[in-house]
């Protein structure tokens, strides 16, 4: 199953749309200082202004520039998303691969714990924990990662197990290949696609949860984030401001998640040839 993932994703239109959306968000995050002349935290007397030449999306309730908040909000979303994605992936690999290779009681314990975590509604756990500890950004990332590696671990374990038994690995072992060689040359390329799909899942979940927590008001209030923008904007929904305050934040969040959804869909399709070919494409 040596498929060029990059190619597969780029070939599918869903993948292209998704990648474009993601690049757009990443560009907004990276280029935020260039795209807006306002500090997103800078308060000013002109509050709740309508969009104008100087404030493209107007200002919020304390005179902060909404456009610039939108751009910097991308940073928060992406930081949480990718941070959680990477850490939970690493945890997933750690537990998944070790469970597959060590096996026995250890494997059983890890897998039961994983199953248990899958049936517990994670958002509720996050809300409970966050309600107590009011996490700042690094803690939030760790918290979300700690609660979202389980699905990945299960998939990675299954994949590693099947690879352990698969023909070409046995064959190369019989030709005298060392463990490192096998891991590098055969195991890694075969699970890298699955890892990517899991990674994107993790990112998507994290972006969503960060926004949700901020919306509930249990995130770090000092952080400029889309969820918080929506929360703040919601309390002014009796005015017109929601059109350029709430909606852009919600749309930015949605587009990010849609981008991730499309990319993961394309990656999944690449993984499962049965789904290939008839894509949104």
């Amino acid at each position: 199953m040596h498929i060029s993932l990059k190619k597969e994703i780029e070939r599918s239109n869903a993948g292209r749309v998704g990648l474009s959306l993601l690049l757009l968000v990443i560009a907004a995050a990276v280029l935020a200082p260039l795209l807006s002349s306002y500090d997103p935290g800078q308060q000013s007397v002109g509050s709740l202004l309508s969009p104008s030449g100087s404030h493209w999306l107007g200002t919020n309730h304390v005179g902060q520039d909404i456009w610039s908040q939108l751009l910097y909000g991308a940073r928060t979303s992406l930081m949480v998303g990718f941070g959680v994605g990477i850490i939970s992936l690493l945890l997933g690999i750690l537990f998944g691969v070790s469970a597959a290779l060590i096996g026995g009681l250890y494997d059983k314990i890890v897998m039961r714990v994983v199953d248990a975590f899958i049936v517990i509604p994670m958002v509720v756990v996050v809300i409970l924990v966050a309600a107590y500890i009011k996490p700042d950004l690094p803690v939030l990332i760790l918290l979300l990662a700690a609660l979202s590696w389980q699905g990945g671990a299960r998939v990675i374990r299954a994949q590693t197990l099947s690879l352990k038994e698969s023909g070409h690995i046995n064959a190369s072992r019989m030709f005298g290949a060392g463990r490192f060689y096998v891991a590098w040359r055969h195991v890694l390329p075969d699970i890298v696609t699955i890892l990517l799909v899991e990674f994107i899942y993790g990112v998507r979940r994290a972006v969503f949860m960060e926004a949700g927590l901020a919306f509930l008001g249990i995130g770090d209030p000092m952080l400029v984030s889309w969820g918080m923008m929506m929360r703040d904007a919601m309390s002014f929904s009796y005015l017109d401001v929601w059109q350029w305050w709430l909606v852009p934040a919600g749309v930015a969040l949605s587009l990010t998640i849609i981008g991730l959804t499309f990319v993961s869909h394309a990656a999944e399709a690449a993984l499962d040839p049965r789904l290939r070919g008839a894509e949104v494409a």
Partner: protein, 323 residues
């Protein structure tokens, strides 16, 4: 069928939930009493009254004894006392639970039915324009967080167009009864249920569609076509029936997502369910209530998963006889 593996899984999940409830209050800074009374009119409560409260809620005892008492009480069905509501946590939650069940239940049924129907349709015509449009549309829909959908629905249909009520589960003291009361309740739940359903539709749809595509290539589909069956029967009775099954296996997990989705959506619509209660509890820092809600929601989802595990064999003959 329920096997030992499942039992172990559920036990671990249950223990984890309890342990969290044990551990989280330990991390609380300060004493819980300050969260009981806020800053509305009287700034400081009289020290005498404070002492009275500390005594009556046993807050002066060491933490571990409070935990011990909590667990003991839990197994006696006592989930604690909400200082804010002046009522037992259990009774507070029970009051809100039916509304959440109504919203979540309706969304679960609707999103499952519509998701399966669309998934079957889309998978059946895979590759067609209809399929591609549906896939793109629903995957996009999947990206919209439920609370954002809720807000937009509320603003558009509630505020701008004024078609739907702005808040609540029914018109209070409207004197309605019978059918008109049902209509009133339906009108109130229409937007929250729509938001939840739309946000969760895509998951069901995608799973059904993927299964459908696989099922369509199964040998029994060829058999069925050879039998000269109508398209309709092929699509629903043969392919559809098989495509539904994987969706049903994940209903429990789905339900978990819907419940958490309801937490957000109820907040948006001020819908008097557990989600709204959670938000209030967070605002008022009513920790016993937060703990209680967490416990009930988590356990409810566990039970739902458990129930699906038990029920699934009745739906999929392959599983029921596998043991």
């Amino acid at each position: 069928m329920l096997n030992r593996r499942n039992l172990v899984t559920y036990s671990i999940a249950f223990l984890f939930i309890l342990a969290l409830n044990f551990l989280m209050p330990r991390m609380m800074p300060g004493d819980p009493l300050s969260a009981i009374y806020g800053d509305e009119v009287l700034v400081a409560m009289a020290p005498e009254f404070k002492a009275h409260l500390v005594e009556s809620f046993a807050l002066d005892e060491p933490m571990w004894r409070q935990f011990g008492a909590y667990i003991l009480a839990l197994f006696q069905g006592d989930m604690g006392y909400s200082y804010y509501y002046n009522a037992s946590v259990f009774s507070v939650i029970i009051g809100s639970l039916p509304w959440t069940l109504l919203v979540v239940g309706s969304s679960l049924v609707l999103s499952t039915l519509i998701g399966i129907a669309l998934g079957i349709e889309s998978g059946w015509r895979r590759g067609s324009r209809t399929d591609r449009t549906m896939l793109a549309g629903l995957m996009s829909l999947n990206g919209f967080p439920d609370f954002f959908l809720g807000l937009v629905l509320l603003l558009v249909f509630g505020v701008l167009m004024g078609i739907f009520p702005l808040a609540g589960a029914l018109t209070p003291y409207s004197g309605l009864s019978g059918f008109s009361l049902v209509v009133d309740v339906m009108k109130h739940m229409a937007l929250p249920v729509t938001a939840l359903t739309l946000a969760h539709l895509a998951g069901v749809y995608l799973l059904t569609r993927n299964t459908m595509i696989t099922v369509l290539k199964a040998p029994f589909m060829l058999t069925a076509r050879a039998k000269g069956l109508s398209q309709r029967r092929l699509k629903y009775h043969h392919a559809g029936r098989n495509s539904m099954l994987p969706v049903l296996t994940v209903t429990g997990i789905w339900l978990g997502r819907l419940v958490t989705g309801a937490l957000f959506v109820e907040l948006v619509f001020a819908y008097p369910g557990v989600g709204y209660l959670t938000y209030q509890a967070l605002l008022t820092r009513d920790y016993p209530l937060i703990q209680g809600i967490f416990l009930i929601v988590a356990i409810a989802v566990l039970i739902a998963n458990f129930a699906v595990d038990l029920l699934y064999p009745k739906l999929d003959p392959r599983v029921s006889y596998a043991h």
